[in-house]
Amino acid sequence: MGESGSGKSVTSLGIMGLHTGKNVRISGEIWLDGEELIAAGPGRVRKLRGAKMAMIFQDPLSSLHPYFTIGNQIVEAYRLHNDVSRQVARKHAIDLLGRVGIPRPAERIDDHPHQFSGGMRQRVMIAMALSCDPELLIADEPTTALDVTVQAQILDLISDLQEELGSAVIIITHDLGVVAELSDDILVMYAGRPAEYGAATDVFDRPGHPYTWGMLGSMPRMDRKRTQRLLPIPGTPPSLIRVPSGCAFHPRCAYTHLTGGRCDTEVPQLYEVASIGHEAACHLTAEARGRLWGELAEGKVPEEAAAVDNEAASSPVEKLSEPDADLSAGLFGPDPGSYDPTGAGYPTGAGDPARTGDEEAGA
């Protein structure tokens, strides 16, 4: 998850090998089912596309070809990767349409996309994506273009099918509600880099990155007083042509003064912040981070929290050095209510800095 322009879609298109421009440079590693995709040629990636990995897009109207019937489009996808007759593929398509909840699929299969409602179209997209039983399904903002009621149906459908088929699903969204409902693991992205990665409960209950704090703070909450103002993150996401130096988030971060100037010079790597597998890319120390989130969780605005911490931060710089990793997991009970706002002894362990999280989600 992340704001618009934080690189979510670009990353997923990169996984699918759908960047077609001449000047595209992709580096790093993408692992899918034991196969590295960047080293694999475009021909190989094309064979995997649709078969082992599939994608559904934001706007189901513009993503379906307006001149072909939906049956044709699904059959095309299925027959591309399976050597079957047209009739068999058609039966399969009808079956799929039924499974994604299209009423009277045998009649509707010969309809064109414009004859369906937005939610039904997205169901068709899902049916098409799942036609070859992919290992990985990437859903790029699958509900953004839909009504709220339909959104919930589509999300239910995706999670049902995920359970049924056992595919890995990557949901790309900026909608925290969607994230909370669907995901096991969350990767928060900012300016094309991972900002925080961890289990959904960890990221929601003990977020470790100021950007995540900002996003959670800008979301209306049922358990807060209604009069309380939402706290937007000031500023806008940076242009990726001119990414800010150091931590890309530092121009919008209220806590940069706590790190002794590292924020605008040094690019933070992902570190394990609290529990195993929960990582954040931030220069704040574990203590500062814990204290700040504690303040914010109590309802303070970032400026207050930062000011409170300012006094504490006047203590020597040695705080910046990572405390020894103390992975006594017992420190953090599973109940978020019992969270210790002082965050004393937040263990930090250097995570694998090369890891971006995408591979994990895709594996």
Partner: protein, 386 residues
């Protein structure tokens, strides 16, 4: 579908009537408004240096002193049934379909048009096939190789093709391929029925000349459309399925790009069928274009009027065909006549569902009867509620 076609046909008939009305007005109403008397008007229908008695005869034959709507009625009747032009003793018969009667040549216009039409038809259709294939192919290729040498070169040639007039490219091609290297010497029209091979051989140069002009235009349109289409989301979806790039472009891309091309193709072909004046003159092909030029040079008004009517008929008909083709090409245009979806599954099996065509026919009847009712109540005061 049937409903749509029938409705479109009815509209076409009205459109043709309108065209005939405007044409008639230009030739008969406008001169009168400009102050010409019936005698002066009739004088133009007789050859140069006419004798007054001849003029009087034409005036009587055309009924130029009758009210204008009567004249128009006679004109339309001539087109539909044929008409007798009589001035007492002297009778000129103009059989169906009477698109005017040339009093100079003492013969109806229609047979002349029909004898010239095959030439124009051969020229226009042959060239259309060439330019459609050539233009679309070049356009697709240069869209795919945008920015490469091929793209720049072909678009440069296309620019030349759009800019250079036919009488220039035509003469150059004649000089080169008919005189310097006589691949196609002595270009003249041979009817397809008498010798198909000669017919084709003689038309190669005119075809290429005419097609060059249009292919250039089509290449540019195709290229622009293709580039736009390739940026669409559904192209990304096609790629995400794992389709090979060639299929993505030739199936998904071209399908969407062709739609606007069909529109202009219909228009262009319709326009050309009314006479490819420049090409026909350049290659001395005795088609409708040549006929038009001669008619204008001789100031033979019925002939000009006939060719104007025929040309506009071609355009209207081409338009209609394009519209009907659209229902096949673009499913979103299709008129759907589908019974409302059955909400109660228990009764679904028993619900009567007329076939689509019957349903559409009933829609035709309904819309016709409502039009008739509107027609009948025309002039009576409208209900206050409206």
């Amino acid at each position: 579908m049937i409903y749509f076609i029938i409705r479109r046909l009815i509209m076409t008939v009205f459109l043709l009537l309108l065209v005939s009305m405007i044409t008639f007005a230009i030739f008969f109403l406008v001169p009168r408004l400009a102050g010409q008397t019936a005698y002066q008007l009739a004088a133009q229908y007789v050859g140069r240096n006419p004798i007054p008695s001849e003029i009087k005869a034409v005036e009587a034959k055309l009924g130029l002193n009758a009210p204008l709507w009567l004249q128009y009625g006679r004109y339309v009747k001539g087109i539909v049934f044929g008409v007798h032009y009589s001035s007492g003793t002297d009778v000129s018969y103009c059989p169906f379909p009477c698109f005017g009667y040339s009093f100079r040549n003492e013969q109806p216009v229609w047979p002349q048009l029909m004898s010239d039409a095959p030439v124009t038809l051969s020229l226009a259709i042959g060239a259309a096939v060439l330019w459609l294939i050539g233009g679309v192919a070049v356009g697709v290729l240069s869209a795919l190789r945008k920015g490469t040498f091929f793209d720049r070169f072909s678009m440069g040639v296309a620019l030349a093709g759009v800019s250079l007039p036919v009488f220039f490219t035509g003469l150059i091609s004649l000089t080169l391929f008919s005189y310097k290297w006589p691949l196609f010497p002595n270009v003249h029209y041979v009817s397809i029925t008498s010798n198909p091979l000669e017919w084709a051989r003689n038309l190669v140069l005119p075809w290429i000349t005419l097609a060059f002009l249009y292919a250039a235009l089509y290449a540019r349109i195709t290229r622009a459309g293709m580039l736009e289409t390739l940026g669409e989301d559904y192209i990304r979806t096609a790629r995400a399925k794992g389709l090979p790039e060639r299929q993505v472009i030739l199936k998904h891309g071209l399908r969407a790009t062709l739609t606007p091309i069909v529109t202009i193709f219909g228009m262009d072909l319709g326009l050309l069928l009314g006479g490819a004046i420049l090409t026909e003159s350049t290659f001395s092909l005795p088609g409708l274009g040549q006929f038009t030029i001669l008619a204008i040079q001789n100031q033979d008004l019925p002939e000009i009027m006939g060719v104007v009517m025929l040309a506009s008929f071609f355009i209207v008909i081409a338009n209609m065909i394009v519209d009907i083709l659209y229902t096949i090409i673009d499913p979103r245009v299709r008129i759907l006549c589908r019974p409302a979806p059955c909400s109660n599954s228990a009764t679904c099996g028993f619900t009567f569902r007329p076939t689509t065509d019957w349903c559409e026919l009933s829609m035709v009847c309904r819309s016709l009867s409502s039009a008739a009712r509107r027609w009948a109540s025309w002039g009576s005061p409208a209900p206050a509620s409206q």
